[in-house]
Structure formats: C-alpha cells, structure tokens
Symmetry: none
Subunit: 167 residues, 2 copies
DNA sequence: TCAAATCCCATTGACCCCCATCATTTCCCA
DNA sequence: TGGGAAATGATGGGGGTCAATGGGATTTGA
C-alpha cells in the first residue's frame, strides 16, 4: 500500500481517466472500489487518497478542538469538497468538471505518488515544480531521518510473505 | 540484506538489464519482487532500494508535519519520481527511458552497492569518480567509527541461524 | 424526455512470459 | 591438480497478454 512514481494518462472527451494499475493495486484491499479526490489547499493540484485514509483524516479532525476555526476550515476544505469516485469496469474514474477546472487540467493527467496519498496535476504545471523541488532539496542538503525498521507497520517489513493476514 | 560490490551488466536493445544475483539475493525476503529506482539529487546516477526501504521513507515523511514544505519537496523528489520495477522471469528489469537519459547510460550499467541501498551508473562516469573518492578518503585519513555489535539488529549478527523469529 | 453515467466491446501497443543460447563458475573425479 | 562435465547466471529475441484508450449501446435519474 504505497503510491509511488508519476504516471501520465489521458483524459478522454467523456471526462474519464484511467487510474494507474499500480495505484489500483495499492488499493485492492479497500472496501470501496474507487478513489477520493479533493482540492489541494496549497497547490494547483488535486489530492487523492483511499477511503481508509479519508477516515484517518476525519479522525484527526475529531481531535482538534471541535469549534476551532482551524477545524472548521479543514473540514470545509477537505471533507466538504471531496469527491468519491468509483471505477468503471476498466478502472477509470470520471473527473468532475469542478476539479478539472481547479487543477487546470487539459487533455492529460499526471498521477503523482506521495506514499500514503497521491496528487493529480496538469503535467505541464507539475514538471517545472518538481524540478524546483529537486533543486531546493539539493540546496537544503536535506536528509531524511529514517524511522527504525522496527517501528514500521506490519506488512511493510520484509519477512515470510504474510499469507493474507486474516484481519 | 546488504548491497556490496560493483557489478557491470549489459543493457540490451529492449532496455532490459539483469539485476546482479547478489543484489536479488539480498532482496529475496521482500514481498515485491523487484527494485525501486529514482534520480540521485547530487550525482549523475540512479538511487536504488528495496520496497521496504521505500516504505521506510514514506513512513518517515508521514511523521513530518503533513503540510510542511520540506516534506512536500521530499515527497515530490523521491516518492514522486521513483520507478517501481519488477523483475521478469530472468531477474531483469526494464530501465525506463527517462532514467537512462538522466544517468547518461549507454550500453552498460554499473550496479554499485552502498549497504542498504545501491546506485546505478554509466561505468565510464563512475570509474573516475570512484578513483577520486578513494584518493580523498586516503588523504583525509578517514576512519569510520564502528557501531558496537550489540546494537545491530537481529539477523545482522553471526550466531545460530535465527530460525525465523516468531514475532 | 433528455442528459449523464454505466456497461460493454474493440483496438492497440507496451510489457511480460517463455525458451534458446552463451559465458562462467563450480564441482567432481581421475 | 588438471581437465572435463554440470550447474548457474547473463543475454537475446518471439509472441501472447493485458493495461490503456476510444466509442457505441443501454440504463439511470432528474
């Protein structure tokens, strides 16, 4: 269950786009056969995630002060504007016009993996931003402090192939 | 689970290259039969790692503030630009054109072990760099402070073959 | 009744499986 | 210890399969 890589797919004239096979595979344990999308609040992109990740966001919001402005805003931005998009028989979704417009998507969509989540972009907009990211990372000399292996969730670690843990 | 040595293999006209047996052996406990590759920040090379190492990166990013700029950049640079490459029946991967170009790879690929990770180079580019690196190390009189054996993870130490610790 | 969504099927081209060959290394035995 | 046989890893290539795509037909629902 990891979203990685950049996958560019076509948006057809009916507003459909194939979800990359790799992403669908990362989601095949989910109850809901589809994805969630909502507008990013800092980029001209769409945030994508699984049903269970959406649950996690809702749970996190629960922990913020129920009446704080911040919780309000986040609830509106994320939960209020999210779209639940089921696959068709070929693993495609229909991108709502509202989201196409927001992300300035034209005839191509870039699915960009970010681990537990992913983003959808107009590839022409994403590419230069990604290059800038790389430059900043390099200049910053950023190094990532890796978590100890032992703290990883079960199933993220190597070992005897987990024979479908019957959870 | 250690990548060591330099192994030079051929890139065939279909864009395939054999992953060295030693490297595959180091990965045989992984769920995913293949490797991950992404562009190095600082070198004209490709960074390679296992699925569980990529999980580790994702988990570590998860810990940074979900909305921090630094996490964003790292996600774009590493997770967004990584390629998940499964082996074929003979233990080869298909090297994506984008990566071949980035690393200026021609008809040969050098797999260079770096412990938990490894790098892929055009051998002609790597060789002089390796020589320079060796010279610097010698001049500097660099010494490596070794971790006490006792702090190593289970399975990295000699001893009775750990009969699959039933954790 | 019309528009939009879903289903279904056809096409295509990249990728993956399979097998054949070649080069090394390992093993065995004289 | 030398040489030959067998095993294993690396390489080359053909062809089938499946993911991505396009578009028509049918259903749903406003």
């Amino acid at each position: 269950m990891l979203f990685t890589g950049t996958h560019i797919h076509k948006l057809d004239r009916k507003g459909r786009v194939s979800v990359p096979k790799r992403f669908r595979a990362a989601l095949d344990q989910e109850q809901f056969a589809g994805i969630y999308l909502y507008q990013s609040h800092k980029e001209s992109a769409l945030e994508g995630c699984s049903h269970s990740h959406m649950e996690r966001i809702a749970a996190s919001l629960d922990e913020l002060d129920m009446f704080s402005d911040e919780a309000d805003d986040l609830a509106d931005t994320i939960l209020g504007s999210s779209h639940m998009l089921p696959y068709d028989g070929e693993g495609r979704i229909i991108l709502p016009a509202e989201l196409i417009e927001f992300a300035h998507i034209e005839d191509q969509v870039a699915f960009v993996g970010r681990g537990r989540t992913f983003r959808l972009w107009n590839p022409d907009i994403f590419k230069p931003l990604q290059d800038a990211s790389r430059t900043r990372t390099l200049n910053r000399g950023a190094t990532l402090k890796l978590k100890p292996m032992a703290e990883l969730p079960q199933g993220a670690r190597p070992g005897a192939p987990t024979e479908e843990d019957a959870s």
